[in-house]
């Protein structure tokens, strides 16, 4: 091969890169080396995605001889801000679609999971650990769907990336009462309890027969334990006396509505 010259070209742009030991292009990332004039190496430093494509090795025989090789450039996945969903707020009972779009080479696979290894409930009621594909459709959303969803993009090129999308479900308050009839002796300490669910979070309070709001004081101690959209309302009445017997109401209100429940405290004679 001493008499002939080896040239390298970029096929898609039809650009001459090197001829023999000379770099023709002013692309400074290109280099050429050889061993014994037998093997010729084209070097591309700091490879970019745009470098992917066909490269031709050409020998100036008559007729000319050439071979083409393909350079694949892999790119780790990246999740696009658009059209990937941002945090979603929906009414209970409506349908929602979470979207996730990612770039990368090869094309990334999208997997949906819930944070904390919770299961995803599909439209047919089936519960699964994960869902494949860029769209996650949830029909008739309920409060159990509320929480953080992870869109995970992977294509075999590390690192895999994920985005956290909050699904927030709005619904009006509801109240459950375990014991609607409670008896107490005079002088006893008694605790009334209501359970409420609402989102956005409700404000809760207690009232008496005359719709008078019960304030915290020496007599009453309202306590609220809340966990996400669930509220556990307690009202402790210290040293029950004659005037404490009657009907109490626990009330829960949010932007979507209001509801209440009644508990009757009756007298147990000593």
């Amino acid at each position: 091969l001493t008499y002939f010259m080896v040239a390298w070209l970029r096929v898609n742009t039809q650009t001459i890169l090197t001829i023999a030991t000379h770099v023709i292009t002013k692309n400074h990332r290109i280099g050429v080396t050889h061993s014994d004039h037998r093997t010729w190496y084209l070097h591309i430093r700091d490879v970019r995605e745009s470098d992917a494509g066909d490269y031709m090795c050409q020998i100036n025989t008559d007729p000319m001889k050439s071979q083409i090789g393909y350079l694949e450039v892999v790119v780790p996945p990246d999740i696009l801000d658009y059209p990937t969903s941002t945090d979603m707020v929906v009414r209970e009972g409506s349908n929602v679609t979470l979207k996730c779009a990612a770039t990368g080479t090869p094309k990334p696979n999208i997997t949906w999971r819930r944070e904390g290894s919770e299961l995803i409930t599909l439209g047919n009621g089936q519960e699964v650990m994960s869902v494949e594909g860029p769209l996650l459709n949830i029909t008739r959303v309920n409060r159990l769907h509320m929480g953080a969803y992870l869109c995970i993009a992977s294509n075999g090129v590390p690192p895999t990336v994920s985005k956290r999308i909050m699904l927030i479900v709005h619904f009006p308050p509801m109240i459950w009462i375990q014991n609607q009839l409670v008896g107490a002796q005079e002088g006893q300490e008694m605790t009334l309890e209501c359970l409420s669910e609402a989102f956005p979070k409700s404000i809760t309070y207690w009232t008496r027969d005359n719709d008078e709001t019960i304030a915290e004081g020496e007599k009453y101690e309202p306590v609220l334990l809340d966990n996400a959209y669930k509220m556990h309302m307690k009202l402790t009445i210290r040293s029950v006396s004659q005037e404490d017997y009657g009907t109490y109401k626990c009330i829960s209100k949010n932007s979507l509505g209001s509801t209440d429940g009644s508990i009757k405290l009756y007298h147990i004679p000593t």
Partner: protein, 218 residues
């Protein structure tokens, strides 16, 4: 007054090369007539001008060097000029196609040139064989078809030899370059004028007609 300075290091580094687009980008030539593709690049600096054949990406020339081993291709350039010409000697019909003048900037800049190599043919009007009575005139009209340029000359042959107008009286040849035609008139033809007459233009394939001058026995 605008003065022209030779390009300095400053110019080379900061103003990118560009093509002078005034050159002809479509060239037609006939088989065998050398073709010239002219590429003009301003502000070349330390970049190289190359010619490649688009069809198969064959590199032809780089700067003033010829890469291809097809000796018909040659780079013409005079020092200090902006012109880089690709010369294709003895072009053939298969050389027709697109050639690219390429500058080694990143990304490259390029200009495409279309070369058409045509086969130009002469045609003599009338039949391929003529029968003429002795004493009448031989009148032949030759037209050159599909030639990009008018031929610089048209020769007439009888058999192997160029017709010598002075060898006998009564021969006239009228050649018009613009209409690309040539008329041969031989008045009062005799049987000895019989033969194979050929019209041979400088840039086209020749055409022939067989003329028989018949003795009149009636």
């Amino acid at each position: 007054v605008v003065e022209h300075h030779p390009s300095s290091y400053w110019d080379q580094s900061f103003s990118p090369p560009y093509f002078d687009n005034t050159t002809k980008r479509e060239t037609t030539t006939t088989v065998g007539q050398s073709a010239y593709l002219h590429c003009k690049v301003r502000n070349l600096g330390d970049r190289a001008v190359s010619w490649i054949r688009k069809r198969d990406l064959h590199i032809l020339t780089v700067g003033i060097l010829t890469y291809t081993n097809d000796q018909r291709f040659q780079s013409l350039h005079s020092d200090g000029t902006d012109e880089w010409t690709l010369k294709i000697s003895s072009p053939q019909v298969r050389d027709s196609g697109v050639y690219e003048c390429q500058v080694s900037t990143e990304p490259k800049i390029s200009l495409a040139y279309t070369l058409s190599v045509v086969v130009s043919k002469a045609k003599i009007e009338g039949n391929a064989e003529l029968y003429i009575k002795s004493g009448s005139d031989i009148n032949l009209t030759c037209i050159v078809l599909e030639t990009p340029e008018p031929p610089s000359f048209i020769y007439w042959y009888r058999g192997e030899h160029v017709i010598n107008y002075s060898q006998r009286g009564g021969i006239s040849v009228v050649t018009e370059k613009q209409t690309r035609t040539s008329h041969l008139l031989i008045s009062r033809a005799l049987p000895a004028d019989s033969g194979n007459y050929t019209c041979a233009p400088s840039t086209a394939e020749s055409a022939s007609v067989l003329v028989h001058v018949l003795n009149d026995y009636t």
